[in-house]
Amino acid sequence: MEEGMELQLSLDKLPIKRLDSIEENGMERFPLNADYDEKRISLIRRIDFAWAIEKDEEKKKQKKSSKETSTPWQWQGMVDNLKLAHQELSVIIDLINTVEANDAVTVASMTRPKPLPNEALSDLAVSAATKLQCYRQVGKYFKQSAKAFEQQLAREARFYGALIRLQQNWKVKRQRQASIVPGNEGFTFDLFDNSYDQGAIIRSSPMSTVRVNHDAAGMLAINVSPNLCHSLEFGFVGAQLNMQKKSNENKSPLSDEHCLGETDTESSSDEEYVKKTHSLLRDVHKAIFNEQVFDLVNREAFNTSTGFSLTGLRENYLQLSLGQGTSVYLSLVSTGQDHPTVEGELTNNAENASSPLDSSDILMHDAKQNTLKKKGQHSISTCYEIYIQQIYQEHIFGRSSEKPISSGNRLSGAQAKDGSSLLGHFFMSLAHRIFSSKILAELENVVFKVPYLQLISNPTWHSRGSSWTLFMEVPPSILHGCQIKTSDYCEKNSIKRQFWIKVVVIDDRINVKAEGSPNVAGLFKGKSEDTHSINKYDCNLADLPVIILQQVASQIINWLYHEALMVGIKANRDFLCLSFELEQGETLGLVANVDPEDTDGCISWSLVMEDSFAEVQKLHKNITNGASEYRKFLGPLSLDLLYATLIDLIAFVGGCGH
């Protein structure tokens, strides 16, 4: 070793090449000389195992596609790789945790690495790509929500369209709930009328609020059970014939359609659906009203006792008796359900009360008569069912405008504001109606038998009054053509060809008014009430036919008398007899005989010839059918025949007079 010589050694760093791996046969593998980017990517890849998983999946796929027997070798490699990855991952996680904890390692400094240009570009590219991705997502979101919104619009358009159409007729209320559940916006139909008269209604029906629901398709639906819809039924106890007919009438066309409309296609069925819902609401509304009517009738039936009495009471069923054996009932029935049949209650004696008609009626058998009577009763009961509803409708809702008819009616005072007289009035109307139908039967009977009488009904527009006119027209005088033409006014009145009898019934009082004998003083005044005196009678049902026939006969006698006067023959007139004087005190007379039971025409005539002396003899000897009296029975005669008889008599009398 030499002194003073300094050696400097510089060591070049050996190019260290790290071995990647070395194989068994000694071959060395060096890592690829990757550039910076690739190194970064490979570093990233070390913690991004997607490629490994992909590779494994590929291997798995290959394994599945090929039929090679898989050696456990392949699986082992994958498992090892996964284990290594797991280890590396745990190392990194520990590192991160310790850095975070600032424990063993502290971050000395962090300098933002100056981005290389291609780095910046790639960052930009990545952020641009993510932004594009976001845009795409937002775009998809917009389109989806547009579609969903459109669908919801369609659904709501159906719902609100239906709701608006129903709102035109019904009140719709909405509750603002704190949490509005989608599918229930809190709408209800309010069927309660807040314009009722005070004091008329006390309770409101629970049915009067109908909730609006959605059905499966989002369409409006209401849930109404048909058993709650009651209708009012009024009828006569014991008359079962009206059952069948009523149940057919009462069935509403949609009694089996309630909630949940079908989701058929589109707008035409929407229309129908709205109509069905509307009908349902109408039914409920009517049912509420019917219940209120029944309620009021119920209350009144206990309070008053004029003309009717309560004889039966059940749930939704009231039975009242009107006297004379007539019993009626008022009940609430569900639509589609028959009313509870009455077991063993009072029989309907109204049929029996009108039985005088049966025996004397020659047109129909009894059976048919009974059917007709029942139909008549049915129509009466329908009629009065409507009437009772009307009465109470006016009472409940108050009178907004006075009807002109009722103001002039003397019975309008009875229809007072309080409800206590309504039921009484109703039953008096019903009683009147039954009574007047009996009267009508009698009148028809009379008119049927007498061929020259006509019956005219006069409408009175009042429920407790009826009026008829019996009308007779006589044949014209033979002198009609020869009559000197006076003024038309007189002419009209001097030739009277029409005679009337008026029958007026108010409640149960009959009043008969008939033209009587002509009044000469009033002949020129013009009105028929002045030209003829008016006979007025009050009578009862049994005497009615007789009185009418007597009036008819007397009118005929009057007419014949007047005709005789016109010819110039003086005649004497009695109530039912027209007599002419012959010489020597004899009288020839035409006598009328009335008999309502007669089947051959109720007015029969006879010619009577009397001696004036014979009358004195009768008185002394009490001969009832005097031998000195000559009587020829002529039977019922038509007016023409009567007139011809009169002319003959006049000719005879005139001939005798010479």
């Binding site: 594009l132 991705q133 845009y135 795409r136 937002v138 775009g139 998809k140 979101y141 917009f142 389109k143 929500s145 547009a146 919104f149 459109e150 619009l153 358009a157 608006i164 007729n169 009140k171 209320k173 069927l191 009328d193 807040n194 314009s195 109408r282 509304h285 009517k286 009203f289 129509s379 329908t382 009629c383 409507i386 509803q389 009307q390 409708q393 409940i396 809702f397 108050g398």
Partner: protein, 115 residues
Amino acid sequence: MDSQSQTTSLQRLQNVEKRIVKVLELAGGVMDELARPVGPRKDLVQSHCLEFMQLIKDIQVALREEIKSACEYRPFEKCDYGSRIANEICYKKVDYVMSQLDAMKQTIDEYHAAD
């Protein structure tokens, strides 16, 4: 607007809803256009945006009009339920009268047939 006299208020509001749907669709279309990897077509985007703004303006105008012209809502001032019941009763009366007339006609027909 010209169409105000022809359409009802309800139809105008429905049109507003349809416009809203269209607006959303346009927005989605613009987004899709922007998300194209090649880059958006300017004219298309511009036309969409113009239409969007126009529709928004239409919506605003319509809504303002509707709000101004909406009348004050007085609930249930005149309730017609009473006359509705009267109507139902009249309907029943007509029904009844018709049945009576039918019966009369039937009687007349029977009378003529019996001759």
